[in-house]
């Protein structure tokens, strides 16, 4: 299998005034195509930082991040942006839709940025996705007229409209009630299965681990282990993770 994501010995430090705060400390991780990978860990463990690096929205202090065969450390800002546009889809915890655009326009936006699809093609793709995520009847609505679950469906459709190889989701169910969260995960899982799209999502909610093909557990900026969903569920919540330093 090909590694869609390859993270090798990545360190990421943030500077707060005169203090250097290590967010990631020598994390290495390979993700195969078609995986449905969960990154688990408590708050401050480095989940979002790792997602940022994989999503090319941040650069590591040291180490190597390869996305779809591209060595990101050698790429310019413009190239990274293009890589995000064509290869990666994003689903945000807070949905992050453009409030002044309709549902349809929000989903269409990445295609417009790509400038490769014709209007007809764009319409077909957007409508297909509207159907897939079940919000066809809301296509002309503005985000403010939708519920949280509906908004996240729009975000999922937007993430998938460019047919990316990789979709990153940062705590996709954190702002949703449990039923809606479950529905969203079902949808993501289904799309993972049918579209063969790799999904990597961060979560600290042990209930969603069961959806993952494998769970990468982080603590204090270090990768603790990578276990199957069943193992992760068996071990339990993030509080029960073994000490990162012990590994």
């Amino acid at each position: 299998m090909t590694h869609i994501v390859s993270v090798q010995q990545v360190f990421k430090n943030y500077t707060l005034g005169t203090f250097v705060v290590p967010a990631l400390r020598g994390v290495s991780l390979d993700v195969e195509e078609g995986e449905f990978l969960a990154i688990a860990g408590p708050s401050g463990s480095g989940k979002t930082t790792l997602l940022n690096l994989i999503g090319c929205v941040d650069t590591p202090t040291s180490g190597v991040v390869h996305i779809a065969g591209n060595a990101t450390e050698t790429m310019s800002e413009r190239q990274l942006t293009r890589l995000r546009l064509h290869t990666i889809g994003f689903i945000f915890q807070s949905f992050n839709l453009v409030s002044v655009l309709s549902v349809f326009q929000n989903i269409e936006l990445p295609l417009l940025l790509q400038r490769s699809a014709s209007a007809k093609e764009r319409r077909a793709r957007v409508e297909a996705l509207l159907d897939r995520v079940g919000i066809r009847e809301y296509s002309t609505h503005r985000p403010s007229e939708l519920s949280g679950g509906q908004r996240q469906r729009v975000a999922i459709a937007r993430a998938l409209v460019t047919r990316p190889q990789l979709v990153l989701a940062d705590e996709p169910t954190a702002n949703l009630d449990s039923v809606t969260g479950t529905n969203i995960l079902d949808l993501m899982k289904e799309l993972n299965r049918t579209e063969k799209t790799t999904f990597i999502f961060s979560t600290h909610d042990a209930r969603v681990w069961s959806y993952a093909s494998s769970v990468v557990r982080l603590a204090d900026g270090q990768l603790v282990d990578r276990v199957s969903a069943e193992e992760a569920v068996r071990v339990g919540g993030v509080g029960n993770l073994p000490s990162a330093r012990a590994t």
Partner: protein
């Protein structure tokens, strides 16, 4: 290409949706832009129109498109705007003919009009002088045997009337101030002239008594007998042809080859007309043309008061018969039983808004025909005395042929302050030699034995032994009588008083000395280049010429529009600087509020320039929309102004507007300027917020809540 258009479409869509989403901010920013663009359209249209009309005033009245003068002059030439009598110190141009020919080689030059500016105080004589002169002529005719006793009696009555008016006047001064305010000599003179015995004396020795009256009484009636005249000496025919707005109002133009003077109608009314009548005209014009009222205007009230208190200038004109006639008419008109005509006149002139038009008509229909309305009339001869450049006083007599005005500028002092005179008389007044003067001087030199000697032989010539010549005193005596004969032959000073009747060769106008010249060009857009060509053509022909455009030649007047334009542009600059700051701040605030949106867009693959484009389009859209509305409103305002016309409320505006009303025009350039400024400002004000937006990291999308 299609992809770019689609992207642009989404940028525009986001921009417009954002504008609607924050409509209050959009309205505030748009309101400022709207006001600014309207101001630019209206302001530039007005300034351009004033510029165009003022340039018509200046170019069409005196200056021409270009003025040319000697570059070696001490002063800069200013042909307009000055009311002072002394003109700029200009070096002369000796050969106008040569210069004109050189200038006409420049393809854009249409006509060259010779000019010279100067000023003088001119005695016009007061009413007592005029009456006494009439009396003296009658006495002479009587002494020559003519029977004019009735006419003499009538004039005597008039003089006695004048003496009476002056005596009353003096008594009033004594009452109002102190007795010491009246000179004892003047009082004695008036008493003597009022005495019946004085008039018995007159019958015995009229000429001696007249002398007393002329020397002692006439000076007491000092009714502004000096005229302060600024005049331009020019080739009057060429001037009339080049400045086609000039029209003759009274009389005729000066015939070719004649010496003559044309009063500017404005000066003629302002200085020469009976002051009471002029003030009455001014009151009526202010009411009819400018919508003023006596009750509401201090100037008009002042004129009414002056007319009511200064009836003396009319009283001095009236003989006994006229006094009786005035009394009868005024008593009837005013329904009064007052016998004192001066009191009746005072009451008559105490006009108000209700009776001004009726009194005005009555004055001109009933009273004015018996009065001398103008101190100098068409056909009279003016003796103009002026200081020449070398400092001595020169005088010429010129006949007044008429008055003139520039069409559309009749009421403007700026265009009307200059009178016109033939160039030959001007040259003489200014101290330049004329062919007649040259001949006279040569004759004087010949009879006086003048001869030119060089410095080396001066001593020998002056003090050396020249027995042969020294011993010929009788020859000198003969020479003196020869001189008289020659001078008599030439005309001399005694005859020069009649120069106004003599003709000169009109060819003289095209030759000889001038101070400056107006150049009329074929294509006014090429003035700048033509000025260079003129100077070059001058240099080529041996002249050191300086060419200045009409704006510079008109001095401060010409700079006026430049000043207005500067004020307008500074105002626009301030408004748009404020607009820029406000738009910038509003956009910065909006950008900070939209960090998550920008972060998301960056995360999903929008390049930085996409964000910049979004903000620029947003502000340009506001600019174009509100700038467009503002410009359209501006066009509407200018159209209304054009239809209604802006009234010229004062003399200066009258000149600037080139007439009583300004009907501003509008060119597409005015709107283009407004829109360009608006779009530039809008674009500029979005740059900093755009820069901030471009710096937003896609990581921000991960950190923010919606």
């Amino acid at each position: 290409m299609r992809g770019y258009l689609d992207t642009l479409k989404v940028i525009v869509l986001i921009a417009f949706r954002n504008l609607f989403a924050s409509w209050l901010k959009t309205l505030i920013v748009g309101g400022i832009i709207l006001f600014g663009s309207m101001l630019v359209v209206v302001g530039t249209a007005l300034v351009d129109s004033v510029d165009a009309s003022m340039s018509r005033s200046i170019i069409g009245s005196v200056a021409g498109h270009i003025q040319v003068y000697n570059a070696k002059s001490a002063d800069e030439l200013v042909v307009m705007g000055g009311f002072q009598l002394d003109a700029a110190d200009l070096a002369q141009i000796d050969d106008f003919k040569g210069m004109r020919e050189a200038l006409l080689t420049v393809p854009n030059v249409k006509a060259v009009v010779p000019m010279g500016l100067s000023g003088a105080m001119v005695p016009s004589g007061n009413i007592v002088d005029v009456v006494l002169e009439k009396l003296r002529n009658l006495i002479r005719r009587q002494q020559a045997g003519e029977d004019v006793s009735a006419a003499i009696e009538s004039q005597k009555e008039h003089v006695r009337q004048i003496v009476g008016v002056l005596a009353t006047d003096m008594a009033n001064v004594g009452k109002l101030l102190t007795d010491k305010a009246v000179s004892p000599e003047e009082l004695a003179a008036i008493r003597r002239a009022s005495d019946p015995g004085f008039w018995s004396e007159f019958d015995k020795d009229p000429l001696a008594t007249l002398e007393f009256l002329e020397n002692r009484i006439a000076p007491l009636a000092s009714d502004a007998d000096m005229l302060f005249l600024r005049y331009m000496g020019t080739d009057l025919a060429a001037f009339a042809q080049a400045f086609d707005r000039m029209k003759i109002v009274d009389g005729t133009t000066v015939p070719p080859g004649k010496r003559g003077f044309l009063f500017s109608k404005w000066v003629y009314e302002e200085q020469v007309k009976l002051k009471t009548a002029h003030r009455l005209d001014q009151i009526r014009d202010a009411i009819l043309k400018r919508g003023k009222t006596i009750a509401g205007d201090l100037d008009l009230q002042r004129w009414v008061k002056q007319n009511a208190t200064e009836v003396k200038e009319i009283m001095l004109q009236l003989d006994r018969q006229q006094t009786a006639m005035f009394r009868g008419k005024l008593q009837k008109e005013l329904a009064s039983h007052e016998d004192d005509v001066s009191k009746l006149l005072a009451e008559f002139f105490r006009v108000d808004d209700g009776n001004i038009m009726e009194r005005y008509k009555f004055f001109y229909d009933e009273l004015a025909p018996s009065l001398t309305l103008y101190r100098v009339r068409v056909g009279d001869t003016l003796t103009i005395k002026a200081f020449t450049r070398s400092g001595y006083v020169q005088s010429v007599n010129v006949r007044v042929y008429g008055t003139f005005a520039f069409e559309g500028l009749e009421d403007s002092p700026m265009a009307g302050v200059l009178n016109l005179m033939d160039l030959v008389s001007f040259r003489e007044l200014y101290g330049f030699s004329t062919p007649e003067r040259e001949r006279e001087i040569q004759a004087l030199k010949a009879v006086a034995g003048f001869k030119d000697i060089d410095r080396d032989s001066a001593e020998a010539e002056l003090f050396g032994a020249r027995p042969a010549e020294a011993a010929q005193p009788e020859k000198a005596a003969t020479a003196t009588s020869d001189a008289d004969a020659i001078l008599r032959g030439l005309g001399g000073r005694g005859k020069r008083v009649k120069l106004e009747d003599e003709t000169y060769d009109p060819a003289q106008l095209g030759q000889g000395v001038v101070l400056n010249a107006a150049v009329i060009v074929k294509n006014p857009r090429l003035i700048r280049q033509t000025m260079k060509d003129i100077e070059a053509a001058g240099t080529k022909s041996g002249f050191t010429l300086r060419a200045i455009d009409w704006q510079k030649a008109s001095g401060l007047v010409g700079q006026f529009v430049t000043m207005i334009r500067a004020v307008l542009y500074i105002s626009v600059l301030i408004i748009f600087a404020v607009a820029l700051v406000i738009i910038n701040n509003a956009l910065v605030m909006a950008t900070l509020e939209r960090i998550a949106e920008f972060g998301t867009l960056r995360a999903v693959g929008a390049q930085r320039r996409f964000l910049l484009g979004m903000l620029v389009v947003e502000t340009l859209a506001v600019g174009a929309l509100f700038g467009g509305i503002g410009s359209a409103l501006g066009v509407g305002v200018v159209a209304i102004m054009r239809f209604v016309g802006l009234p010229a409320s004062g003399d200066t505006l009258y000149f600037l507007f080139s007439g009583p009303r300004l009907h501003p025009g509008l060119s597409p350039i005015n709107v283009a300027i407004a829109l360009t400024i608006v779009l530039l400002v809008s674009g500029a004000s979005s740059l900093y917020p755009g820069f901030l937006a471009m710096r937003v990291s896609p990581r921000q999308a991960m950190q923010s809540d919606e």
